[in-house]
Amino acid sequence: MTIAVTAHETIEHLDRAALSRDEIAARIARDIPAGSFVNLGIGQPTTVADHLDAGSGVVLHTENGMLGMGPAAHGDDVDPDLTNAGKVPVTELPGASYFHHADSFAMMRGGHLDVCVLGAFQVSEHGDLANWHTGAEDAIPAVGGAMDLAIGAKDVFVMMSLFAKDGGSKIVPTCTYPLTGLACVSRVYTEHAILLVGATGVTVVETFGISVDELQARMDVGLRRLEG
């Protein structure tokens, strides 16, 4: 983890509801330092872009070979030769550059991206990530760039719901789904809480509409508080 947390102690927002997906995206956008080089994973993480301030100088990377990616393309702006990693047509900003796949993943693997935002099935308290395979026997395995992204960026943020459909926490002592990467996630942004994960376990930065104690009662991992 290279981006420091600015809060000095854990904040429990008990007078409000859980964050909406849009609010989670906005929180992530706020925590990305100005001038960062950022890769946003397919799906929900893509929406973080909508909350980035144009003046922040944040530069978006897409692993299919581009820096300086702009918003989604519409109408006449759609160019089949210009898509993001989710194969959605996008646009090009001034100062953009194109490169081939080996160079693009060298950029990622070499640790040159500041932040990557990914979805997840599970995150372990030590930052292991499982987001490519549910382990279901009949599933067709498909990893894409997930493993490269997981180990590449200086900070990997996960954006997910904190609890699975069965009510269990998706932050777990040990991932039971097949791993994407070991000890790679630094932060997890969820509707109920923003949490740090890593060598010292799980630390709660903020909660939304729920207390740390209430969260702790629903989770199998120990929750620490930030201490000033």
């Binding site: 194109y98 796949h101 080996a102 292991d128 067709i140 395995p141 180990i151």
Partner: protein, 223 residues
């Protein structure tokens, strides 16, 4: 030495049964559809295909799969909303699948093209895709040993070529083309545009002609 040919069928002549064929493109961007269609017509089978995805809808790579010509797919992301042709073959056990992380796919082909025998890569350490592979800790970080992926043939799409086989691409359609061009014994390219010798800026050539064996122009400008 680069040969500019008139038809996609001439371009794919000589591809043999059992060949390993690298196919460019990321989704449809950079996908050499005319060359794949010609390969179907040409008839080679028992192929090992290396491509990022495993076909979309019923055309291109999906059509090659549907024609029963592919023994094995090596790719990073076979499963897509419209990859039903592959899905059916896979679930019925009629095709082999090797899933490779996308960056390893690119880097392993780069290694093949660059004469690198193997490399220690941090991607996938501790995951099922690293099982059975040699691991090593170097300077405090864990790595997995990855081997080159070499093709007998590469089929790629580019934007423009000159008669020397120099290529430029358009935007994110560049993707796997340049690295596949280096990794195959025979590289076959479909382009939208042919320019005269000297018509490409030497500073902007992405794939030098040394990597290109055959070029065919396809698309609207042909009609």
């Amino acid at each position: 030495m680069t040969l500019v040919v008139d038809t996609a069928l001439e371009a794919v002549a000589g591809i043999e049964d059992g060949a390993t064929v690298l196919i460019g493109g990321f989704g449809m961007a950079g996908m050499p559809v005319a060359l794949i269609d010609a390969l179907i017509e040409q008839g080679a089978g028992d192929l090992e295909i290396v491509s990022n995805n495993a076909g979309n809808g019923d055309t291109g790579l999906a059509a090659l799969l549907a024609a029963g010509r592919v023994r094995k797919m090596v790719c990073s992301f076979p499963r897509q909303s419209d990859s039903y042709v592959f899905d059916e073959l896979y679930r019925s056990g009629r095709i082999e699948l090797e899933v490779v992380p996308q960056g390893n796919l690119a880097e392993r082909m780069r290694a093949a093209g660059a004469g690198i025998g193997a490399f220690f890569c941090p991607t996938g350490v501790g995951t099922p895709l690293a099982e059975g592979k040699e691991q090593r800790t170097i300077d405090g970080r864990d790595y997995v040993l990855e081997l080159p992926i070499k093709g007998d043939v590469a089929l790629i799409g580019a934007h423009a070529a000159d008669p020397a086989g120099n290529l430029v691409y358009r935007k994110t359609a560049r993707n796997f083309g340049p690295v596949m061009a280096t990794a195959a014994t025979t590289t076959i390219v479909q382009v939208s545009s042919l320019v005269e010798l000297g018509g490409l800026d030497p500073e902007s050539v992405v794939t030098p002609g040394i990597y290109v064996d055959r070029v065919v122009r396809v698309g609207q400008e042909d009609s």
